[in-house]
Amino acid sequence: MDFLTLVQVLDSTVRLATPLLLACLAGLFSERAGIFDIGLEGKMLMAAFFSAAVAAITGNVWFGLLAGIGSSLALSGLHGAASITFRGNQLISGVAINFLASGLTVLIAQSWFQQGGRTPSLLSGGRFEPIELPFAIGPTEAAETGRRLSDLLSEANVLQQVYSELISGHSIIVYLAGLCVFLTWWVLFRTRFGLRLRAVGENPAAVDTAGISVIRLRFAAIAICGVLCGIAGAYLATGLQAGFVKEMTSGRGYIALAALIFAKWRPVAALWACLLFGLLQAIALRFQNIDLGGFVVPVQFMEALPYILTVVILAGFVGKAIPPKAGGQPYVKER
């Protein structure tokens, strides 16, 4: 494996980690506020569909992004109504939301586009295009010199390869996701809102007796969760791929959940966890079965690894993952 291949795998890691990271941070806001969210998958899927559908109809990816965020927010609202207002079971609500998204997306896709539950392929303008950073070797360079991009890249020096392939050439959402890690950390640990958010996930009674509305705080948290899931879904359908296909999230919401546990509900650790799980996906995608000197690691094992690692973490054999204390329980005022 040469250096350029490695860079390319890492490049693909970054792209695959982006939706995971956004969804993971979404879950982080929700769970830090004491609302379990296993509906990340459904919200992403819904957003993926509506972003692709609106982008396909309007030809404008930004409208698509807004539609994606809107649809994800609607599901967040449903989750809020069930788990905050009506004090229902948050896990069951999450399961319902996942099915709702899984069914509705295909149903509406079929009704709008008649293409077997997918959206038309998105043309440029309907997609988030890669951003070429200054001095990077990209398609522009290739067009100017009239040579193939891969040739240009393999001739370049190591630094230029890393810069052009790994750092440059991603869509705006990828950079945004990176920024979100820092923003999440800042909001959580440096603002009044963050202090209250963390408090409401640990002991809502403390927040309530301090004269702050538990309900409003929790709704705010799941709204942020909805927005981030919306961006994650939109990226899937309009950045990573060119359009919506049925079940296109394929378990990413659950991997994000796994990453969240892996990161023990901390933003910077979430970045590393998502990069790790992104790397596993990238490797599985590129190499299929990996031959480690006679011992073949099957691709299925690579695919299952994020889940296996999460179970190991949950079991507490490698550091204990302690979720926010009030997580999963509806808040009932009592003396």
């Binding site: 809102f193 640990e202 002991n203 403390a206 003396r335």
Partner: protein, 513 residues
């Protein structure tokens, strides 16, 4: 004359058919400590929750410092200068002291400036009231006494002029309680008004300026503490002259049934709860264990009842009928204890003694559900269970006598009768019984006490744990006092009094009897 700090006028509050507060009016002078005393369920906590904006009164007015004030929520209460220290602290355990104090009272959207200002302010408050805490300690790393200080500081940081404390000493050691009252005294001298809710007579008599008595949702009297007596207050509290007197003949103790030697219990957090105690309970006697809650009595009862076999560490020797009872491993769980003829009425009947959603007839078998009498082949013999339930309900006068009713639909007293009936009717050699009459009405108390005495007279051994000193004194033949996990001393019940036991409960060692 200055306006009263707090004035309540005709406050009423009902929860469904239950009238929790009935037309309550009081007036508290600024710079005083006002006590509110009453039994469990008398409506004290409801009243304070109305004052703190947790509940809205159906009728009535609240006046603060001479102004009519609406308190729809806690925010409004805080704005009106009211601070509350709840019985169960409302602190975020993995936050620092400083973060807890700032929570909800931040200056702006940014956290850091708020925290640094709070740090300075806290320093000033600490010095003003001699309330020292480490602002950077995490709540789960400091003791309950310290946590309570944080709650008081929280209120002071919010500029509270009126401080409500709900049963503040329930979880404190006597030393910590003394310290609390020194702090309250200091606050009073700085002009703060304090409302102290308690059911402990001693606290009322020693520390308050005025006292109100509540009974069944009504305020029966408000008097100057200096002008009343414990006897008078007690009568106002219960409504009739009762000094719990149990009819019983002197005990005729037989041979030892339970022998405890050097028993130590460490909980799963690594805290030693019981520290090498020796006790003996003989056939035909009641040994009462007195003490402030949290001094190791609960753990002692749980260990004997087989509820701690899989948690923490237990050492020492416990013998029943002269043979060793295993403390861990095989034969150490609650089921084995029952097989060894140890009955157990647990301290918390709602969380432990009963399954609240189960029917009465299912609860009558709880813990004994694998007894052959209740089983026919692989299946449970529900008909036998129901017949047994009807019989016990009649004998123990459980009302209503409906086996199909879920446990949660009985009153506290009748729930306790179901538990007591279940345990006593097994005719155990040793009965462990914790807080037998907590939250139980007077009529049921007498009945339950009578049943316990009858079991004693039948030659059985009884180990009684209660935080109610009166109950201990009137029911027990011998009394042992527990403090900080140790036995402070033992007395014959008829050769001691509340004063002596109270001293021992406060950690002052009595001379060997």
């Amino acid at each position: 004359m200055t306006a009263p700090a707090i004035q309540l006028k005709g406050i009423s509050k009902a929860f469904g058919p239950v009238q929790a507060n009935k037309d309550i009016s009081i007036s508290v002078a600024p710079g005083s400590i006002h006590g509110i005393i009453g039994e469990n369920g008398a409506g004290k906590s409801t009243l304070m929750s109305i004052l703190y904006g947790f509940y809205k009164a159906d009728k009535g007015e609240i006046w603060i410092k001479g102004n009519r004030t609406e308190i729809p929520d806690s925010q409004a209460a805080i704005a009106a200068g009211i601070g509350m220290v709840f019985q169960h602290f409302k602190l975020v355990e993995n936050f620092t002291v400083l973060e807890n104090i700032v929570l909800g009272a931040e200056d702006s959207g940014m956290l850091m400036p708020s925290l640094s200002r709070a740090r300075k302010e806290l320093k000033a408050l600490e010095e003003e009231y001699e309330l020292y805490v480490d602002p950077d300690a995490r709540i789960d790393e400091i003791g309950v006494g310290m946590q309570q200080r944080v709650e008081i500081l929280k209120a002071l940081y919010r500029k509270a002029e009126i401080l409500i404390l709900d049963e503040p000493t329930g979880v404190l050691t006597p030393a910590e309680a003394d310290q609390l009252f020194r702090i309250l005294d200091r606050l009073r001298s700085e002009g703060k008004t304090i409302l102290l809710i308690t059911h402990k007579m001693r606290e009322i008599m020693e520390y308050t300026d005025t006292v109100s008595v509540m009974r069944r949702g009504e305020m029966t009297a408000t008097v100057k503490t200096a002008e009343t007596s414990p006897e008078e207050l007690a009568e106002l509290m219960v409504g009739r002259k009762v000094l719990l007197q149990v009819d019983k003949v002197p005990a005729k103790p037989g041979k030892p049934i339970l022998e405890i030697q050097n028993l130590s219990v460490t909980d799963s957090m690594g805290v030693e709860r019981v520290k090498g105690i020796d006790l003996q309970v003989r056939a035909g006697e009641i040994l009462g264990i007195a003490g402030v809650a949290g001094n190791g009595q609960s753990e002692l009862l749980e260990v004997l009842g087989g509820m701690r076999a899989d948690r923490g560490r237990i050492s020492g020797s416990v013998k029943l009928h002269g043979s060793e009872l295993p403390m861990t491993g095989a034969g150490s769980d609650a089921r084995a204890r029952r097989d060894a003829h140890i009955g157990h009425v647990p301290e918390d009947r709602q969380a432990e003694g009963l399954i609240m959603d189960f029917h009465a007839w299912e609860n009558v078998a709880f813990g004994y559900h694998r007894d052959p009498a209740y089983n026919a082949g692989l299946l449970m013999d529900n008909a036998a269970l129901r017949a047994d339930t009807e019989r016990k309900m009649e004998k123990f006068d459980v009302r209503p006598p409906l086996p199909w009713l879920a446990a949660k639909n009985f009153s506290g007293g009748n729930q306790q009768k179901i538990v007591v009936a279940r345990e006593i009717e097994r005719n155990p050699d040793l009965l462990l019984i914790g807080q037998p009459t907590r939250g139980v009405d007077i009529g049921a108390i007498e009945f339950i006490h009578q049943q316990i005495v009858e079991l004693r007279d039948a030659g059985k051994a009884i180990l009684l744990v209660s935080v109610e000193l009166e109950e201990i004194l009137s029911l027990s033949d011998r009394v042992a006092v527990m403090f900080d996990g140790k036995i402070m001393g033992e007395r014959a019940a008829d050769q001691t009094d509340e004063k002596e036991l109270g001293l021992m409960m406060a950690g002052v060692a009595g001379e060997a009897a």
